[in-house]
């Protein structure tokens, strides 16, 4: 019996040590990516190409989701606010919910599932098919040539996608509240204009999405580069990217929100 307990404790210890070890590897890898980013900026075409793959090709899912989220917000907001006779504030509710929280968080979650998983799978498969080893043997550093451009493309794309998500959300809220339900258009826009502050709301939302962009792409490139070079390894790494990114986004969101919006002026 004591032996079994000791074995269990050892197993827990091993898991914790492995986790910390992996976190250390990820941190070291992240620093390496930053150090080897010079080529990405000197040959910006490499980054632009990846912006197309991770950013432009994510547009459809981001825009459509943004529209639906905004429409739901418009409906739910109207439903609640009309009970208190303040249905004209639905514009404020839609805009603040989107630029502060839903825009950055939802677009980052969608970005992690659409682009993060693709980055991991691509890098993982390049490793499994010896493309990264071949690059190294050609005296070209795979971190500088393959990883860094994808990382920076994700970091650049994320805030832009979040902004577009919010814009489409506001449009969706407008469609439902003003066009379908008939809330006064002037009241919808003016309440929004009065309530949304550029520095406090919009800039903070953009800062959040920048943090999410760094977190999601850093996780995606690390998981891809670290994936065991087998079909099973790549599939596991892709799953880990989506799960870890989602947790990182939600955890970071709480930390950032607690710094940005503390409820006191």
């Amino acid at each position: 019996m004591p032996k079994r307990i000791i074995t269990s404790i050892q197993a827990v210890g091993h898991r914790i040590i492995d986790g910390i070890w992996r976190l250390g590897c990820a941190a070291r890898f992240f620093i390496l990516v930053l150090l080897k980013s010079a080529a990405s900026f000197l040959r910006f075409g490499l980054v632009i190409r990846e912006v197309y793959f991770v950013g432009v090709l994510s547009l459809i899912i981001i825009l459509v989701s943004g529209l639906f989220v905004g429409m739901v917000l418009g409906l739910q907001g109207y439903e609640t606010l009309q009970k208190y006779g303040s249905e004209s504030a639905v514009g404020t509710l839609v805009a603040l919910s989107l630029v502060r929280e839903l825009g950055p968080v939802m677009s980052a979650l969608l970005f992690a599932s659409r682009a993060g998983s693709a980055i991991t799978a691509e890098i993982g498969l390049m490793k499994a098919t010896e493309q990264l080893a071949a690059m190294g043997m050609m005296a070209v550093d795979p971190i500088a040539r393959v990883v860094a451009p994808r990382f920076w493309a994700g970091v650049i794309s994320m805030p832009l996608l979040a902004a577009l998500f919010s814009v489409m959300g506001v449009f969706g809220g407008y469609l439902v509240a003003v066009v379908f339900i008939g809330v006064d258009e002037g009241a919808f826009w003016s309440s929004m204009q009065n309530a949304v502050d550029f520095r406090y709301d919009i800039v903070n939302g953009v800062i959040k999405s920048c943090f999410f962009g760094v977190a999601v792409t850093a996780i995606a490139v690390f998981e891809g580069f670290d994936a065991p070079p087998t079909a099973e390894g790549v599939s596991g790494a892709t799953t880990r990217t989506v799960v870890t990114s989602a947790l990182a986004i939600l955890g970071l969101d709480f930390v950032l929100t607690s710094f940005m919006f503390r409820g006191v002026d």
Binding site: M126, E130, Q131, M135, M137, M138, A139, V140, D141
Partner: protein, 269 residues
């Protein structure tokens, strides 16, 4: 004998506690095709990775062009690698680039040549492997043999002094196999480089190589010219060259006595 390009001395390598190479000594001359043969897991690919500086030996050294590979700094190693080519088992072509861009990859990364000159050079390299007409295809559109020929064109892009081939004949049909074999020989002679071919394919490689090393149990078990190898009476070489089922490399994985495993001892007793 011409000047040696590669000198391997008392080379040993272990993965954690499992020794892969124990004490390997080799000399490879410029302009020759050298085969390294041995069973699966005998350390052939590890040897290539040591020559390329991907991993460091636990003892001994590999010298390429008078430079000890594992002692080179990152920049010097990358400078040396620009003079090396490597053909991976399945080509390892960059799947997001066309055939043309794959061959042009190193030229664009390491030189400032104008695009017009790169175009000419790429077409010349592709012509050498008979695939000039396939320059616009993507790797997914190539057969296994064609992919390996493109990878060969890519590895000679910067006219290296050394090319390493990791199992270049695996999974090829007889025509592609013969084409790759003769290309290795012809390109080696035409470019005056050294080729190291790691292979299982005894018959095909004996047709094209100048010298053969046999690796077994982490050491060089035998060596010689193709003629010497064919005539060898060394049991291991004889078994390997003639593909015999049993010999020094046993058919059976070590196991308990057969009757004991089948629990027949009682009945036999």
């Amino acid at each position: 004998m011409s000047e040696p390009l590669i000198e391997i001395k008392d080379l040993a390598f272990s993965y954690s506690t499992r020794p892969i190479l124990k004490s390997v000594n080799m000399t490879m001359s410029r302009g020759k095709v050298i085969a390294i043969m041995g069973g699966s897991g005998s350390g052939k690919t590890t040897l290539l990775r040591l020559i390329g500086g991907e991993i460091k030996p636990t003892a001994g050294y590999v010298k390429v062009a008078d430079q000890v590979v594992h002692k080179l700094g990152r920049n010097d190693l990358f400078r040396l690698r620009r003079k090396m080519g490597m053909l991976f088992q399945f080509g390892a072509l960059f799947t997001d680039l066309s055939v043309f861009d794959n061959v042009a990859f190193q030229m664009r990364e390491h030189t400032n040549l104008p695009e017009s000159m790169i175009r000419d050079l790429v077409l010349m390299k592709l012509h050498a492997v008979g695939l000039r007409g396939a320059y616009h295809l993507m790797p997914s559109e190539l057969s296994g043999g064609m992919a390996r020929r493109v990878a060969l064109a890519r590895s000679i892009a910067l006219d290296p002094m050394l090319i390493m081939y990791d199992e270049p004949f695996t999974g090829l049909d007889p025509i592609s196999l013969s084409v790759i074999g003769s290309l290795i020989r012809r390109l080696t002679d035409a470019l005056g480089m050294t080729s190291i071919v790691v292979t299982h394919d005894v018959q095909e490689s004996l047709k094209i190589v100048d010298y053969v090393y046999f690796l077994a149990d982490g050491v060089i078990a035998a060596q010689g010219t193709p003629g010497e190898v064919r005539e060898s009476v060394t049991p291991f070489v004889h078994q390997f060259v003639h593909g015999e089922e049993d010999g020094p490399v046993p058919f059976h994985y070590p196991a308990e006595a057969y009757p004991k495993d089948l629990k027949l001892e009682r009945h036999l007793a």
